[in-house]
Amino acid sequence: MELLDAHLVPAVDGVAYGLLLFVVAAGLSLAFGTAGVLNLSHGMLYAIGAYTGTELSDGTWGGLALGLAAGTAAAALAGAGLSAATVPLARRGHLAQALLTFGTALVGGDLLIQFFGADELPVRVPGALDSSVHLLGHRYPAYRLCFIAMAVALAAFGTWVLTRTRVGAAVRASADDPQMLAATGHNPRAVHTGVLAAAGALAGAAGVLGAPIIGPGPGTSENVLMLSLVVVVLGGLRSLWATLAASVAVGEVQTLGVSVLPDLAPYLLFAAMAAVLVFRSRFTEPEAHEERGPSSDPVSRLRRLLAARWENRPRAAAPAPTAPARLGAWLHSAGWRQAVPLLVLLAVLFALPGVLDPYSISLAGSALALGLLAVSVTVLTGYAGLPTLGQTAPFAVGAYATANLADAGWTAGPVQIVLSALAAAVFSAVTGPAVIRARGTTVLMITLAVGELTSAVINQVKSVTGGADGLVGFPATRALWSGEGMTEERELYVYAAVVAVVAVALTLLVLRSPAGKLLTGTRGAEARMRASGHPVGRYLLVAHICAGALAGVGGSLMVTVQQYLSPADVGFEIAAFALLAVVIGGTTSVIGALLGAGLIVFTRDWVAGSWPGHGPLLLGALFIAAVYLLPRGLAGLRTAVGRPATAVSTGKAAP
């Protein structure tokens, strides 16, 4: 009883916190589940509400009402604007939307800081609520109790609209089949705009009312977005009640969890998320992805395997054409045109040290490390059809492995690279089964959880990772077994370039081989691949492990080039950048991913160098520009230049 009593206040706090998250997450879930927009700027909508409400609240009821009206209206307007902005992206899938909304969030976040400053603002609530009441022998802030009541009312109203009204029916119908909704005389565009405006209004209202709980500040957007994503993953998209339960659970973890189990609290959230992933909530579509091989007994599997190998043999044994004939054929084929950008890139890569200053050279080295991460994301996103936000996890494993190896005296570059790749591969083999069972946006959520869980571990296991301080002062890597440690920027860059070229060349070879075709086939027509006897799950797992190893190499390079390692280097932002680099690059283009990563590092660190503090704004603008100007990514440019008429006008995907 005493224990219960001691934790009453945090428990009630958890309910308030959870209900706040529910209102925000309901908006996110509404936008995604019924309008099909994965809104990564949803946290920004909350921040708009929170800032507006805080500015207008002067401690009176009128101020709160005014703030509520203005904040809700502003966020609803932003939501409606987002609906208009996604019109040109209608046929481009969730990744293009992610690029757009992430860019919007970066730009919006920067603008909010411009307007309201970089400090957390103090929040005033109406005088009557700025007191405490007695709650079972404890004093408790009256505002929070009032907030609980308001959130419940808001949730009940939303549920009523969605399930009991004609408007709600139209919204649910548009989620199901917008064409047929139009054929019954309802304008699906209006429904889309209305849904996104309503989702924005929910976030804005939550921001105004919830400001005393999660106040307006520079980190608000990301914090709120992340927590509401967790809620949506835990609760699924189907049921508001499940979302409610998930919200309160997350709220309790963030309050009661911290007070009862301070050491474990950072894990609790992700443990819950991981549990859901393991037990497969209805959020995923398991019926489409279950392993449904023709039969699973080992003998017939072995027989099929042998048969498959036998079928492949004749092709491999076909008489190889003589070298000059092959060269001639290659020159006449499209092959040389594909190779030209590769060769140009290679030349530029090794010419850079001659033209750049040391700072830019070290940036270029970081860009290569991030580029390898982006290439590993391309392998998963573009080839295996698993869009991932979690490749920073194996990237981090590789990075921390290298730093620790160096600390232990293993400073030979090749050893560091190979062991880092191995460690990352083992890590990916462990996380793989959870990732490869889902498809599409669900993968984004699952990998996000993997990445965040890894970040939590990094912050906790200080003996290995240095915690939030990161690692510095470990011995420099030696390029080979002998020689001095590399400390000079040019040396480091050349080392990074050589490793990157080898890794990318290997990746390209594998992707152009039949193995790459199997992956492409899996992405394009998974059911057919299964039906023709391919163990799709195993292919994806192998791809996941290889991509993990590649990311591990990238992590190792980053540590070598930077000569320090901080948790921010392997955080969510980097994961998002890697995915966006891939989208900018053209999703299936390895070279495009490298260029995309280069473009991001260039924008964030080099261009922003002349306009300090505005890196996010510039990046956001880059993302927004890329989504509209490069519908098929940087890789699309080459196709457009090479074959202007056909490729552009038919609008088909780049080969």
């Binding site: 139209a170 199901d176 699906p188």
Partner: protein, 242 residues
């Protein structure tokens, strides 16, 4: 009255309908038959506004509705019963009825009659028994009834039926045909699309054989019922694909 003149439509890189002329006077059934790929569904989608035509006009009671968005065309009085029914999986039957019911504004004399949910349930009593069930939980026949109800509740003057008997048991097929005849008697112009000449001929006033997006043969329903040889010949000769 639905009038199509010179209707041309297609997808990226290929024209499917080549200048089709077709009219359905009020109170009649015009059946369009053809092989897979002849352009039947393209025709329906173009008329319903789910696709934009490349050329030609769609006129509804003399009003040009060519190229308008689907919801405008639906409001103008064209009801669609699509292939595969496409009922809303997560909406109950009652919600379907409520969502689809659009009382016509003002005294629109061109509308043959106003369909209210009560009147639709009178015509399709089975739906009344299943009011609380979700679209996904209905049987194929019930879904077909629901799709029809959804189209009727807009009180259309033209009804597009895309393979309404697909996958239904013979008894239900007969029921659908009776319904089509009933609706035509109400003054609705019915455009019925079907791959099977036998089903189409049973209730059609006019028959068009669509051959690679062009009118292959046109004959009146009574003639086709008496002597189906011409119809069969046109279909057997019609090459599939284009």
């Amino acid at each position: 009255m639905l009038e199509l003149t010179g209707l041309t439509a297609g997808y990226h890189g290929g024209t499917v309908l080549h200048g089709l002329d077709l009219s359905v006077p009020a109170g009649t059934v015009h059946a369009v038959v053809g092989h897979n790929g002849a352009g039947k569904t393209t025709l329906v989608h173009t008329v319903a506004g789910l696709m934009r035509p490349d050329a030609g006009t769609v006129r509804l009671d003399g009003r040009d509705v060519t190229g308008q968005p689907a919801h405008r065309i639906a409001r103008a009085g064209i009801g669609l019963v699509p292939q595969g029914r496409r009922v809303f999986a997560n909406l109950s039957v009652a919600e379907h009825l409520r969502l689809s019911y659009r009382p016509p504004r003002g005294g629109d004399a061109s509308r043959p009659s106003v369909w209210t949910p009560a009147r639709v349930l009178e015509l399709l009593p089975r739906l009344g028994e299943r009011r609380g069930n979700r679209g996904a939980d209905l049987s194929g026949g019930e879904q077909q009834m629901l799709a029809l109800a959804r189209a009727l509740l807009g009180s259309p003057s033209v009804l597009l039926l895309d393979e309404p008997t697909e996958g239904l048991a013979p008894a239900l097929v007969r029921q659908v045909h009776e319904l089509v005849t009933t609706l035509a008697e109400e003054g609705i112009a019915v455009l019925l699309v079907s791959p099977s000449p036998a089903t189409a001929a049973r209730c059609a006033d006019t028959l068009t054989v669509l051959t690679s997006g062009r009118v292959g043969l046109r004959l009146d329903g009574a003639g086709a019922r008496e002597d189906p040889t011409a119809l069969h010949a046109a279909l057997e000769l019609a090459p599939t694909g284009a």
